[in-house]
């Protein structure tokens, strides 16, 4: 009897330990980046490294003062917000159509949307670079946002599809019988219910654009986004600049995962069906 409880206890310990270990595996590298960001440039380039941050804002100040860095940060935000707006405003109607209507070609459409993810999409930035020069969209936030939208759109459609599917059509039908048109039923009944979910998928689109580096580096020259700027200066920039830049890139990610954690799993579950 004691042997059984012993092995069970050992198993329990092993389980808790491996969960802890895997959490540490994720957090410790992030912690190292934090130490480097909150250290003075001298400490970042010294050896050996301290394992506790000294809370010196020198590196971040250097980052803020570096030629072009704040502009790149602003560009990143502008492109990401544009991507968010475009992808939700054209993706959400399609998600609604998929969840509410049976129409011919629905399955084909859904498959095509999924299949766009099977292409290395940043590659398509190469021909678009030429095309954009002809149309005057080159090196603009709008041009890059359009390319980032192709990356975000499959997610926008599939996530809004699963969100709308989660709202019973009976609610809408009840609104119709009470005198609403299709449109007012949508704005008065469905929209308030769906808004947090839409916000979550909008944040998802924001982060996809925020993180994208290849297309951004190909399509922008003067108006670089932060990842493109960091990539371009990777070879010559000092260590503390890289770490501060990396940290600024990571912060929205932490907030994003926290904000959408409720929706993260729901949206993938239905998208797979």
């Amino acid at each position: 009897m004691t042997a059984v409880t012993d092995t069970r206890k050992a198993g329990r310990w092993l389980y808790v330990a491996s969960v802890g270990l895997l959490c540490a595996w994720v957090i410790i590298p992030l912690y190292f980046l934090l130490i480097n960001t909150l250290s003075s440039p001298e400490t970042v380039n010294s050896f050996p490294k301290p394992f506790i941050p000294e809370f010196d804002l020198g590196s971040l100040q250097f980052f803020a003062g570096f030629q072009g860095m704040l502009v790149a940060l602003k560009n990143s935000v502008v492109v990401a917000v544009l991507t968010m707006i475009i992808s939700i405003s054209i993706g959400a109607p399609a998600g609604y159509a998929l969840s509410r209507f049976d129409f011919r070609g629905k399955e084909v459409f859904r498959l095509l949307i999924l299949l766009t993810r099977a292409f290395p999409l940043p590659l398509l930035a190469l021909p678009l670079a030429v095309l954009f020069i002809r149309t005057g969209l080159d090196d603009t936030a709008v041009g890059l946002a359009l390319v980032h939208t192709t990356l975000a759109i499959p997610f926008a459609v599939l996530i809004t599809f699963s969100l709308f599917s989660g709202i019973p059509i009976e609610l809408e039908e009840a609104a119709w019988t009470l005198g609403c048109t299709r449109f007012t039923a949508f704005t008065k009944v469905v929209l308030p219910l769906i808004l947090p979910g839409i916000a979550a998928s909008a944040i998802f689109a924001f982060v996809i654009s925020w993180n994208e580096v290849f297309a951004a580096a190909v399509l922008t020259i003067e108006n670089r986004t932060l990842p493109a700027f960091l990539l371009q200066t990777l070879a010559e920039s000092p260590m503390h600049l890289k770490f501060a830049g990396g940290f600024i890139l990571v912060v929205p990610a932490l907030i994003f995962i926290f904000a959408v954690r409720k929706y993260l799993f729901a949206m993938w579950g239905i998208a797979n069906r």
């Binding site: 190292f32 949307i113 954690r261 949206m267 579950g269």
Partner: protein
């Protein structure tokens, strides 16, 4: 409004958008790749394949994908099963494990650079325990294996989360009754995993593997941050064709090759993990 036309009207914007920004550029890439000085030719492909860096970058990209993806699959399956039995703290653990999902490949490369660079944390730790006297320059051409290891770890660290999310969501869709029935018949946890979880998880595994494999062939910024030119990969070569060599034709040809590899793997995964017709959960 006509209810028959409404759904088509609603999907019209996406369809138009994808035609202009997905289909059209795709045709342009193909055109550019297959033409040389205005006429159709395979010269671009011959140039690209004949270049001395091509076999190396192809080998590196494949090697990375072949090692990283199975480890990520195993790790995410393990994490998902661990989470599925968890009673306390499930949300917190899942939050921590999915953090890398939002982190870009460039940032991940920079994070692991903080560990592997010459005055980085690995060297500090090794010096702390007295394993080395002076900091070792890990990311140099003398230590190509460590460069590879650092890139591999960064990739595993960063991109396991996307598979984890898809698999956790997929496990959530499997009805609990199957497990209860299996338990009644005395199936061990391992048997339940192999006979219930894995087969019923096929659609999720499909999605997860396709996404992951396509992204694995797109590996670029992690390598740029950690290896620079020490570890050439296909995507990095495309970048240097476009910028350093200013050769759009060659860049397009190599892009098509990457596209072909990604599509081939997508088809293999779809075929290998196909769900039998009519079988649903």
């Amino acid at each position: 409004m006509n209810a028959r036309l409404l759904p088509y009207l609603l999907i019209l914007p996406v369809t138009l958008f994808l035609c202009v920004f997905f289909l059209y550029p795709f045709i342009l890439v193909a055109q550019q790749a297959f033409s040389n000085g205005g006429e159709a030719s395979l010269q671009n492909f011959r140039d690209v394949i004949g270049y001395w860096k091509f076999p190396i970058s192809l080998r590196n990209t494949f090697l990375l994908a072949i090692i990283v993806v199975p480890i990520q699959l195993a790790l995410s399956l393990l994490m998902a099963t661990m989470v599925s039995k968890m009673k306390k703290g499930r949300d917190l653990v899942l939050y921590v494990w999915t953090i890398p999902l939002g982190i870009s490949d460039l940032a991940a490369g920079i994070i692991w650079l903080a560990i592997f660079e010459q005055s980085g944390f690995l060297n500090s730790m090794l010096a702390g325990v007295g394993a080395v006297d002076a900091p070792v320059n890990f990311l140099s051409y003398q230590n190509t294996f460590i460069v590879f290891l650092a890139i591999m770890l960064a990739e595993i660290w960063r991109a396991t989360a996307i598979m984890l999310v898809i698999i956790v969501a997929g496990i959530g869709l499997i009805p609990k009754e199957y497990y209860e029935a299996a338990e009644v018949f005395g199936a061990s946890p391992w048997k339940r995993f192999v006979k219930i979880t894995l087969p019923l998880l096929r659609p999720s595994l499909q999605t997860a593997l396709i996404l992951r494999v396509v992204l694995a062939f797109e590996v670029f910024a992690v390598v740029a941050a950690l290896g620079g030119t020490l570890f050439p990969v296909l995507m990095g070569e495309i970048y240097s064709y476009q910028f350093d060599l200013q050769n759009g034709g060659n860049a397009a040809a190599l892009a098509l090759i990457v596209l072909g590899i990604s599509l081939a793997f997508t088809l293999i995964i779809l075929r290998a993990l196909r769900v039998p017709k009519g079988a649903t959960i």
